[in-house]
């Protein structure tokens, strides 16, 4: 019984990681940059989602506003930050992204205060008992959202024209341009989608913990980086599976090897062990 419950908790945790990580892996697949500032959009989504819900009483509106705003900011980040740096060595974009993330964290603190923001009356908290396990509605929604969104995304990538266009741009931007696919449009779409997803993840985490803080993006950002390597850079399905596996390992790890290793370190320990055995990661990159 306990094992099943731990397993389910792992899936829930992994689901939140997956929705954040997928944006990161899409951006990496496209531009080969580690978009650390992605976590700032996660936090932005959480703040906006909670703020709008508190003001209007509608969670759906909150999610919508959060996703749209983050998507637009994400596109802005591409245009202002990454596009000018495309022909520079990779560390330039990485450090610029880190600087941007630090700035965003600070802006959140200055604008919203250091104390954190909570729902005035948190939605989706009703408890459902499934086979003796208590689950809150938001927890079930998290897993369902994850499967639907990421499954959908993977399907789009494989089976639709847009998806094929995206994959072509990743493989060879110039060639795909010859075929009439506009790589720039693809990039904007990817940044919009990835950032909107990060914002949704932010709102989900806010529902799960009822606390939005300026620094809440830090831990997911590190873990997502480990996840996208494990899942194969640019591989949506791989990222989904890696996220869930990591969530489950963390759930069991914190209970049984918590004495030896910190929770955050578990993610990286897992990563390093996998890389030592299989240097290309769990799954191949796109």
């Amino acid at each position: 019984m306990l094992f099943i419950e731990l397993f389910i908790q792992g899936l829930i945790q992994g689901s939140t990681y997956a929705i954040i990580a997928v944006g990161l892996t899409l951006v990496y697949g496209l531009l080969r940059v580690l978009h650390v500032a992605h976590a700032g959009l996660f936090t932005l989504g959480a703040y906006l989602g909670v703020a709008v819900t508190n003001q209007t009483g509608s969670l759906s509106l909150g999610i919508l506003v959060a996703a749209l705003a983050a998507g637009i900011v994400g596109m802005g980040i591409y245009r202002l930050v990454y596009e000018p740096m495309l022909n520079k060595p990779p560390y330039v974009a990485l450090i610029a992204s880190i600087g941007l993330y630090i700035g965003m964290e600070e802006l959140f603190r200055l604008v919203f205060g250091p104390f954190g923001l909570s729902f005035s009356s948190a939605p989706l908290q009703t408890v459902v008992v499934v086979f003796g396990i208590h689950l809150r509605a938001c927890q079930i929604i998290a897993v369902v959202t994850n499967v639907v969104l990421l499954g959908g995304l993977a399907w789009v990538a494989q089976k639709t024209r847009i998806g094929t266009g995206w994959r072509a741009t990743v493989d060879d931007p110039q060639m795909s341009a010859c075929f009439g696919i506009d790589p720039i449009k693809v990039r904007y779409r990817v940044f919009f989608a990835g950032s909107a997803l990060a914002a949704v993840a932010g709102v989900l985490v806010a529902l799960l913990t009822n606390l939005v803080e300026p620094t809440m993006g830090a831990v997911p950002s590190y873990k997502s980086l480990a996840i996208i390597v494990l899942g194969g850079l640019g591989n949506v399905m791989g990222t989904l599976i890696a996220s869930l596996i990591l969530g489950i390992i963390e759930a069991f790890g914190t209970i049984y090897i918590g004495d030896f290793l910190d929770r955050d370190a578990i993610a990286f320990a897992f990563l390093i062990i996998v890389l030592m055995i299989k240097p290309t990661g769990l799954f191949t990159s796109r």
């Binding site: 019984m1 306990l2 419950e5 731990l6 908790q9 792992g10 829930i12 945790q13 939140t16 600070e106 603190r109 205060g113 250091p114 104390f115 954190g116 909570s118 009356s121 948190a122 908290q125 408890v127 008992v129 208590h134 809150r136 927890q139 985490v205 799960l208 913990t209 009822n210 606390l211 803080e213 300026p214 620094t215 809440m216 830090a218 831990v219 963390e250 759930a251 069991f252 914190t254 209970i255 918590g258 004495d259 910190d262 929770r263 955050d264």
Partner: protein, 381 residues
């Protein structure tokens, strides 16, 4: 380019001299985490200290002069607090230093203040080694171990619960609380079923909650700060764990109740701020702080407020700005403050009652008081 150079020179000059202009005030140094992950506690403690300064100055100051609080941001880091301590002593010429920060920066700064023979008061940092830096260092709040022992008495004797699960925050705060609790658990008939640890960055406790549920304890002793305890308690209740949860002063903020909502009802903590206190020092502080800050008082604000009051009284009684005289006055002081009666032992630790507060109808209220000098005695060296 030339303009830029002039601007830089001006900035540099200002930063050098800016602090030295008002020279007929008595300067008290204050380090707190104003930015970084601990910014919320830094903000509260700074406001608590500023309130004390304001109240003292409005009442006429000390020995005819006004007090001035020199505040520095140490980001809760030891490497930041060292130059800050040196700056306070060397440049600002403070007569007393107060730490409104966490243990690591306080510990580093304490060593420097001790060497310079300037009194240093830790408002709420709990690392035992802080006061071991020397006879110039004092602490106005409980040592972690002492509070842990009080928790054992609260659970075992006052509440009568015997099967306890511990959820411990993995930092100096959580670990020293756990150590104190474990030390005295047997004395009060407590059987510790299991102990689980979590990191200060965790907000989702699904795995621990599942395991605790399967342990079926009578009570849970959980250490943490409001930003970890809030989510933890909320998730415990949501998963069907109904037993009493006991916390400590890290929970002591209205934010805890805001985050946990209904789940906060019935949570009891060991702390030093009694919201229902009729004592004028406490009631006044609570009222005035909310007026100044715009939000209800919490423990770090109260502790910083107390520390400033101790410093001010010592300076007044010494009737001088000689650090050695001030230090002697602090050592022998007896002051009724918002967080209790402050008197120091030979190590610079306080011995005072523990206020147990419970959340009732969405607010903190008095539950009980532990006044057991033997149990709560801090170490002498």
């Amino acid at each position: 380019m030339k303009k830029l150079r002039w601007v830089l020179v001006l900035c540099f000059t200002f930063s050098c001299f800016g602090t030295g202009w008002a020279s007929d005030t008595i300067k008290i140094g204050f380090n707190a985490p104003l930015t970084g992950f601990a910014a919320s506690d830094g903000k509260s403690s700074t406001l608590g200290a500023k309130l004390a300064i304001k109240q003292i100055n409005e009442a006429g100051g000390i020995n005819g002069k006004n007090l001035e609080l020199i505040v520095y941001d140490d980001q809760a880091k030891a490497s930041q607090s060292i130059p800050i301590a040196n700056k306070m002593i060397g440049q600002d010429k403070v007569v007393v230093g107060i730490s409104g920060s966490y243990s690591a920066p306080t510990r580093s700064a304490a060593g420097i203040f001790q060497e310079a023979k300037i009194p240093y008061i830790s408002a709420y940092a709990i690392h035992p080694d802080i006061t071991k830096a020397g006879d110039y260092v004092f602490r106005t709040s409980f040592l972690g171990e002492v509070q842990g022992r009080a928790g054992a008495k609260l659970i075992g004797e006052i509440l009568g619960k015997k099967r306890v699960v511990m959820i411990t925050l993995k930092n100096d705060f959580g670990k020293s609380l756990a150590a104190g609790f474990k030390e005295k658990a047997k004395d009060f008939g407590i059987h510790i079923v299991n102990e689980y640890e979590y990191s200060i960055k965790d907000r989702q406790f699904g795995a621990i909650v599942a395991k605790v549920k399967s342990d079926k304890p009578d009570a849970i002793y959980a250490s943490g700060y409001y930003f970890t305890a809030g989510p933890l308690v909320s998730q415990l209740r949501a998963s069907g764990v109904t037993c009493t949860v006991i916390g400590q002063e890290g929970y002591d903020s209205d934010k805890f109740i805001a985050i946990a909502g209904k789940a906060a009802e019935g949570v009891i903590i060991t702390t030093s701020l009694d919201r229902d206190s009729k004592a004028p020092e406490t009631a006044d502080f609570i009222r005035e702080f909310e007026k100044l800050a715009g939000y209800p008082a919490d423990m770090v604000a109260a502790s910083a407020h107390t520390a400033v009051k101790v410093a001010a009284l010592a300076i007044k009684q010494a009737n001088s700005t000689d650090p050695e005289k001030i230090r002697d006055e602090i050592a022998g002081i007896s002051l009724k403050a918002s967080t209790g009666t402050i008197e120091f032992n030979s190590l610079g630790e306080v011995s005072k009652n523990v206020q147990n507060q419970i959340v009732k109808n969405g607010e903190w209220h008095r539950h009980s008081v532990i006044s057991d000098p033997k149990l709560l005695a801090p170490p002498e060296k």
